[in-house]
């Protein structure tokens, strides 16, 4: 479909220009650097700091700085620095996979609703609204409580409750794009519905979906911490939320055990938001000449 590519050009910005806009923004670059730093810490850090986060290595509740333990120890005497390093991997993994899950569901539902219209749209959008009005944390709690708190169930639960916004954005983009000339052209040149949805319209609707998904990663990390705070975390995997959850009852006696992972979450979510903002500016065709 070489002919079509020419017509798509007005909507998708050239890759080079996207990169330029993104890297011109200081905040976006800062966010990206922080994010890469955290990811490197999570994935390579354990090689340089091999203390097992589950090992009881020192006196419980040793405040940060005690005897070489930079961030202190928790209520069982486990090294909090090691928990932060190892927890980064899991927290980020949960964040990205949950966002991927909600993106998958949201794009699927939103694109079909937007493309087909009629009763398909009615049904799918009522379903979306149903999920949108449910109190998300409560619903996620129910799912985790039903299926037990493992990393998988937590990830799926977060994904399952946060896809509604993606679905709505996808639908609105589809509604707009499917009326454009190049779609009509593609249809008249014999493309079937599936090709139209996934090869023609979706690439052109990608920008806002990518931005929304990026923001969902941050939301998912906070979500996991929220569930953990309520005691619904996987006790066998160290994530930042799990660190908060297991130390929560000692919050008045050893505040640092909860604030340190809290700060880690805060920085990560902030970085993700900055990157998301940068992506938004870079991908938005209307902001091209800024």
């Amino acid at each position: 479909m070489l002919e079509n590519e020419e017509m798509e050009e007005p909507i998708i910005k050239p890759v080079k220009e996207i990169f330029l806009t993104f890297f011109k923004s200081y905040s976006a670059v800062t966010g990206l650097i922080i994010l890469i730093g955290i990811a490197v810490m999570g994935f390579i850090g354990p090689l340089f700091y091999p203390t097992d986060p589950f090992d009881m290595v020192w006196m419980p509740f040793s405040p940060p700085g005690t005897d070489g333990f930079l961030l202190g120890t928790d209520y069982l005497g486990r090294d909090i620095l090691s928990q932060i390093i190892n927890g980064a991997r899991v927290s980020i993994a949960i964040g990205f996979s949950a966002a991927l899950v909600s993106c998958f569901i949201g794009v699927g539902i939103g694109s079909f609703a937007g493309f087909y219209g009629g009763w398909v749209e009615e049904t799918l959008m009522r379903l979306t609204e149903f999920f949108q009005v449910l109190p998300t944390l409560l619903f996620a709690m129910v799912i985790v409580a039903l299926f037990g708190s493992s990393v998988l169930s937590i990830t799926l639960a977060i994904g399952a409750v946060s896809w509604a916004s993606v679905a709505r954005i996808t639908r609105s983009e589809f509604l707009r794009i499917k009326e454009l000339d190049f779609v009509l052209a593609s249809r008249s040149s014999g493309s079937n519905n599936m090709a139209l949805i996934f090869k023609v319209i979706l690439p052109n609707a990608a920008a806002p979906i990518i931005v929304q998904s990026a923001l969902l990663v941050g939301a998912a990390i906070t979500f996991e911490a929220g569930l953990a705070f309520l005691g619904l975390s996987d006790p066998n995997v160290i994530s930042w939320g799990q660190v908060i959850g297991s130390n929560r009852i000692y919050i008045l006696d050893a505040t640092y055990t909860v604030t340190i992972p809290g700060i880690a979450i805060f920085i990560t979510v902030l970085a993700i938001s900055l990157v998301g903002d940068g992506l938004n500016d870079a991908l938005n065709p209307k902001l091209r000449s800024r």
Binding site: M56, P60, Y75, G77, G148
Partner: protein, 524 residues
């Protein structure tokens, strides 16, 4: 110097007199006690409902034949005296003559008979009155219990919330006592307080019963029991004086926080007969824990002192056996399995559990019965890693899920809190008896532990009337259990009573609030 000494002397004297003045003050009549309860009782009739939540209002509304003092000595209550004869097989209760129910109808021996039969039929604690074959009522104020065998547990079973005397003319109307409408409203009791209102989930209001059979009691005019489930709300209520009294607090951080408050008194006394013990139970029939060597190695690897100091923050006591340390039958001189990682590793090596290339020998699951035990489960994971056991912590969705898992024997290790309920026959035997391996029943012998010798000792101790001989039997039992280790006992659940300075005579006996609070009063 001399002047200073005199000053000190004077100050000391003043202090002594003031403190004497407080401790010998006459209890004052009148006043309202605002108490908190941590859960919503299903109803208020302890004759057909177990548990400390029903026990608190239940023991105020209903009197029992006897009560216990702080030293485990039975005292007259609704029975002014009793005679035990026929080698313990006949127990005669002489009831107080002028006792009446809250509706004015006299309390007769036939009510005692009716109550005991109802409890025997409907109360979950079947061992309490199992040997009682019949109750004879030669006259209105005499009830004679005939037993098939001696039953020393009977005395404790006739106290506290366990043998509430309920009126036959109300609860004997043919309706199912477990769902009788008057279990929750218009309760006709026999105890020091009568029910004004029970609003489920909100409060229970009790009022002084003026015709109570002990003259001048109760001292309080009114008791308001506020049902507050959230620990933080209760703690704040106690701190700002909205609540005068709360029993059964067990969150270590809360206890330590409330201890710092000068207006509040915090005490662990009063729970010896309730007897709550935290323990790690093993599946002794299937999996790796069926091997006693594995169980012993695990016990050596888990540091009881660490649990006491780090998890319980110093507010709980050590419990080395399945009998509460406050009980006269407690035997501390048993194999305690004090922390010894080398020994634990050696036991496992010798038993043939070789470490793999990753330093692990095998994996086990650990469950826990309620959220308060999650730290213990996480600790178990960390502690057993040191001896090469890879522990997976299983978090159950809720209590019924856990109860189902454990009672159907689908577990390796589980943390749990279990109550003694006074006599070992009521709350201890059930955990170790071969006959009590009941699939699907929680707090039965879910360990599936079976040792004919242990069964025989329990059977003997259950009918032994001589206190010293009985103690000796239970001592032997505890030693044998510590050796076989179906359960590794660690500590008492740190139940604490918190009361404000204006509360006099809070219940400090062996049954905490599951005993009548007719002597409690409000100062000034």
């Amino acid at each position: 110097m001399k002047k200073h000494f005199l000053k000190t002397l004077l100050l000391t004297a003043t202090l002594i007199f003031t403190s004497l003045g407080v401790s010998f003050a006459e209890p004052k009549k009148g006043g309202t006690l605002i108490a908190a309860v941590g859960n919503n009782p299903r109803h208020l009739n302890p004759a057909v409902q177990s548990g400390i939540v029903t026990g608190f209002p239940g023991a105020q509304l209903f009197a029992t034949p006897i009560r216990y003092d702080n030293n485990w000595e039975p005292q007259p209550y609704l029975a002014e005296s009793w005679e035990i004869s026929d080698g313990g097989k006949t127990v005669k209760l002489n009831l107080v003559k002028d006792a009446v129910f809250h509706d004015g109808v006299p309390i007769k021996s036939s009510d005692v008979k009716f109550s005991l039969e109802t409890i025997k039929k409907h109360h979950p604690f079947k061992t309490m009155f199992a040997p009682v074959v019949s109750v004879e009522t030669p006259d209105e104020h005499t009830a004679v219990l005939k037993l098939s065998s001696p039953h020393p547990a009977l005395m404790l079973a006739m106290s506290s919330q366990l043998m509430a005397i309920i009126p036959e003319h109300v609860y004997g109307d043919g309706q199912d006592p477990k769902t009788h409408p008057q279990n929750s409203e218009n309760v006709v009791g026999s105890g020091p307080f009568k029910l004004v209102e029970f609003k489920s989930g909100e409060h229970i209001i009790l009022e002084r019963f003026d015709d109570f059979f002990i003259d001048g009691r109760p001292y309080l005019d009114k008791m308001v029991l506020k049902i507050i489930r959230d620990p933080a709300t209760r703690t704040i209520g106690l701190e700002n004086g909205e609540i005068d009294f709360y029993a059964f607090e067990n969150v270590p951080t809360n206890i330590n926080r409330l201890k710092k408050n000068a207006n509040l008194n915090v005490t662990p006394d009063g729970y010896a007969a309730i007897g709550p013990i935290d323990w790690l139970a093993f599946n002794t029939k299937s999996g790796k824990t069926a091997d006693v060597n594995v169980r012993r190695a695990i016990a050596y690897a888990i540091d009881r002192n660490f649990i006491l100091k780090a998890i319980m923050l110093g507010v709980a006591d050590e419990a080395r056996t399945g009998i509460h340390p406050g009980s006269p039958y407690y035997e501390p001189d048993v194999e305690a399995y004090d922390i010894d990682i080398d020994k634990a590793n050696k036991i496992l090596d010798d038993a043939g559990y070789k470490k793999g290339s990753d330093g692990m020998r095998f994996g086990l699951n650990v469950d826990f019965g309620w959220p308060g035990l999650r730290p213990n489960a996480e600790y178990t994971k960390a502690a057993l890693k040191k001896i090469g056991i890879d522990v997976t912590v299983r978090q159950s969705a809720d209590f019924p899920t856990w109860a189902q898992t454990v009672s159907n024997h689908n577990f390796d290790l589980t943390w749990d809190t279990v109550f003694n309920w006074g006599d070992p026959v009521i709350g201890v035997h059930r955990t170790y008896q071969t006959s009590n391996i009941k699939k699907g029943v929680i707090w039965s012998n879910t360990q599936q532990y079976s040792n004919p010798k242990v069964d025989a000792i329990m059977e003997k101790a259950g009918v032994e009337n001589n206190m010293d001989k009985r103690k000796a039997l239970y001592s032997e039992l505890q030693k044998m259990l510590a050796n076989d280790l179906p359960v590794y006992w660690t500590n008492t659940l740190p139940y604490h009573t918190i009361y404000s300075n204006k509360v006099g005579n809070p219940p400090m006996g062996i049954w905490a609030t599951s005993s009548p609070m007719d002597m409690t009063y409000i100062k000034e």
